[in-house]
């Protein structure tokens, strides 16, 4: 019997073709698009509202994507975190951004705080921290210990080969979150 996500904690909607490992931490309402790969120990926490992840994203081990509620704010206000297509969240990055576009790369141990809007084709370098509310211009790169910025010509390449490989390999060793059947939503959770 395959394990199940706890429906009282989270509501994960997975599109067909995505590889989402069950061992990850999922809290709140999460939608994951096709061809997206979520590694076993990733954390996706939709605290202040739903997180909608697009297609072809790669969320590596210990990456944290958090839709955090600002301290002291009203619980009733819902905010949706939209994540576009073909983003890469490398190992141990922490992303609490306002919204994320397409083709961005969050390198290992990078941190993107609340209020940052990541547009398209941006790279946040390893160990770089962005905390002030700002809009990252398209194709901008933040790198190095001094958080230098530059503008790159081309957006980062899509990790198509890597996604394909993980799509093949991960199901061999991990339980996956299955796409919900539209016809019988109640059948998935009969015991509760």
């Amino acid at each position: 019997m395959a394990k199940q996500l706890d429906p009282s904690v989270c509501n994960v909607t997975v599109a067909a073709g995505a590889t989402v490992c069950l061992e990850g931490d999922f809290i709140g309402e999460i939608t994951i698009g096709a061809r997206t790969v979520v590694h076993p120990k990733a954390r996706i926490i939709a605290e202040a509202g739903p997180i909608i992840i697009g297609e072809g994203n790669l969320i590596e081990e210990q990456a944290q994507i958090i839709n955090r509620r600002p301290e002291g704010s009203d619980d009733s206000i819902q905010r949706t975190l939209n994540i576009g297509h073909n983003n890469v969240f490398e190992v141990d990055c922490l992303v609490e951004a306002e919204s994320i576009g397409d083709n961005n790369v969050f390198e290992a141990k990078s941190r993107v705080g609340r209020g940052v809007t990541v547009s398209r084709g941006c790279v946040v370098g390893s160990l770089c921290t962005l905390t002030c509310p700002q809009v990252l211009a398209e194709n901008s790169v933040v790198y190095g210990s001094d958080h230098l910025r530059r503008h790159q010509h081309e957006r980062p390449v899509v990790q198509a080969l890597q996604l394909e490989f993980l799509n093949k390999v991960l199901p061999n060793f991990h339980y996956l979150v299955k796409p919900k059947k539209k016809s019988a939503p109640a059948a998935a959770v009969p015991s509760s």
Binding site: V123, V141, Y143, R149, R150, H151, Q152, H153, E154, P156
Partner: protein, 522 residues
């Protein structure tokens, strides 16, 4: 645990008066003194590229401005650029279609700069072939170089001519004969000298022709102008986009171009590194000589102090507070394969006159002093330090000791007041320190006196009867067993073993001192 490997906590005072960690100090076995990078001569052995590890001879390196021809650094962040391969590329004739072929471009893994960013065309070969930027002042520099080369040549000729003229004056009898009486060449000896004089004259004439002609390269002198190029019109109206403007570091990385826009950053050829050998300035023996192969990290000769001087380490950091005695535990390690008697003596750096107390024995060391050069940068040392009294023995280093049962401590009659623990070739001692004032960093110093057994291959015979080489004023008066040399004195080249007593000043940084005892415990 980090303090165990923090080399800057324990520093030795080099014979030149500088404080260096043991890893930065060499030990000259011929002078029997400590040497550091400050007091050795550095010799360049070879140049090599750190990326491709290719060796480059000196003339070629000079031609290439000490840079590698094939490896590049990122002009944006300075990391090494790697060559990337892209299979598909647009057809040059029909941009809408793409054809299959291998194309290479340079890419930085740090800041994601690529050679495509600055529109450098992709290459069809993996190495080489990258377009070079022409330095803007290349013509001018070349003409200047040419001009001054000609000037140098002319000066050299002038000197030669003067020398030749002086030589001609000396040979004046011969020149006399040549100008005057032709019949005088009956004398064969004179005619021979005439011939040589003629030859030298001819040589002068050829030089004179060249020297008298004006310089072939006419140099247009540089013109100074008061007019400076104005700022561009849009400098006050257009907002500065920092991502497109080069930083000062980026500009100065390529001094010929000094690009101001990041769109004109070109890959930089990687700087060569050198392997160098170190030589003692006093006896001119090699202290360090690396292997010639660039990929080898080994040394042919490496007389590092950590092979010859006992290694002093702070066992654990202790909390320090004013007026309260702290017990600082040190470990002493013998790196040599010889038994090493050792004692800790007070170090009084500010006494310039060396004072030796001859009657003091090792069991009760009194004050002994060492001379320290005035240029030394010694920190303020804590004065109330109680060092362990008496002599202790360090066992020789034995590589097999850690595999066997370590019961070596039985053979040493240790005073428990001095030695707190003993393991193989290490002992632990305790130093009592009473800080007097609140500081950020408290330093203690002592003199490490130990007997060093020096094995030298002596080429000459009969020298081994010389007494122990003394280091420091009190070395040969020491009571630490600096006996007569034990090496055999024979007529054949032999390994000579002599025992020398050395005094090495050690300065240890202990850390911050808090205000009172109650604060440190809280």
């Amino acid at each position: 645990m980090a303090h165990l490997f923090d080399a800057n906590l324990v520093r030795l005072l080099c014979s030149c008066g500088l404080m260096k960690p043991i890893t930065g100090i060499y030990f000259c076995r011929h002078c029997v003194k400590l040497r550091c990078s400050n007091c050795v001569s550095h010799e360049l052995d070879m140049r090599y590229c750190p990326n491709c590890l290719e060796n480059m001879p000196a003339p070629e390196a000079r031609l290439k401005k000490n840079r590698c021809g094939n490896c590049f650094d990122c002009p944006s962040c300075g990391q090494s650029l790697s060559t990337r391969l892209s299979i598909q590329s647009p057809d040059p004739e029909q941009p809408s279609r793409s054809i299959q072929r291998k194309l290479y471009f340079l890419s930085c893994s740090g800041c994601r700069w690529t050679s495509r960013d600055v529109n450098i065309p992709d290459q069809t070969v993996a190495t080489g072939g990258w377009p070079e930027q022409e330095p803007p002042n290349k013509e001018r520099i070349l003409s200047l170089l040419e001009h001054y080369r000609a000037v140098a040549l002319r000066d050299k000729m002038d000197r030669e001519r003067k020398k030749q003229a002086a030589a001609r004056v000396k040979k004046s009898p011969a020149s006399f004969l040549r100008s005057g009486d032709a019949g005088a060449d009956k004398l064969s000896s004179v005619s021979s000298s005439l011939a040589s004089a003629k030859k030298s004259l001819a040589a002068i004439n050829t030089y004179a022709h060249k020297g008298d002609t004006p310089l072939t390269s006419q140099l247009t002198p540089a013109e100074a102008s008061e007019e400076v190029e104005g700022l561009p019109d849009d400098i006050f109206t257009e907002p500065v986009v920092l991502a497109q403007v080069c930083s000062v570091e980026q500009r100065l990385r390529s001094p010929e171009q000094q690009p101001s826009q990041s769109s004109s950053l070109y890959p930089l050829h990687k700087h060569m590194l050198v392997k160098r050998s170190l030589r003692c300035r006093h006896c001119e023996h090699n202290l360090s000589k690396p292997e010639y192969n660039p990929s080898s990290i080994k040394f042919k000769i490496q007389l590092g102090a950590y092979y010859h001087v006992p290694d002093v380490r702070l066992v654990r950091p202790v909390p320090l507070s004013v007026g309260q005695e702290a017990r600082v535990e040190l470990s002493l390690c013998n790196p040599t394969p010889h038994l090493m008697p050792l004692a800790l003596l007070p170090f009084l750096p500010h006494l310039t006159t060396a004072h030796i107390d001859a009657g003091v024995t090792a069991s009760s060391p009194g004050p002994r002093f060492i001379e320290v050069p005035t240029e030394s940068c010694l920190p303020e040392l804590c004065t109330s330090v109680t060092l362990p009294q008496g002599q202790l023995l360090l066992a020789p280093r034995d590589d097999t000791a850690e595999y066997g049962d370590a019961d070596a401590h039985n053979s040493f009659k240790d005073d428990p007041q001095v030695v707190t623990w003993r393991r193989a070739n290490k002992v632990g001692v305790t130093v009592c320190v009473t800080p007097e004032a609140v500081t950020d960093a408290l330093y203690i110093g002592f003199l490490l006196r130990y007997d060093y057994t020096n094995n030298m291959i002596s080429a000459s015979s009969g020298l081994s009867s010389v007494g122990p080489v003394s280091l420091g004023p009190s070395a040969d008066l020491s009571s630490l067993g600096s006996g007569p040399p034990s090496g055999p004195s024979s007529l054949t080249p032999s390994v000579e073993s002599r025992t020398v007593t050395l005094n090495v000043p050690v300065i240890i940084k202990l850390g911050a001192v808090s205000a009172s005892a109650s604060e440190s415990t809280a």
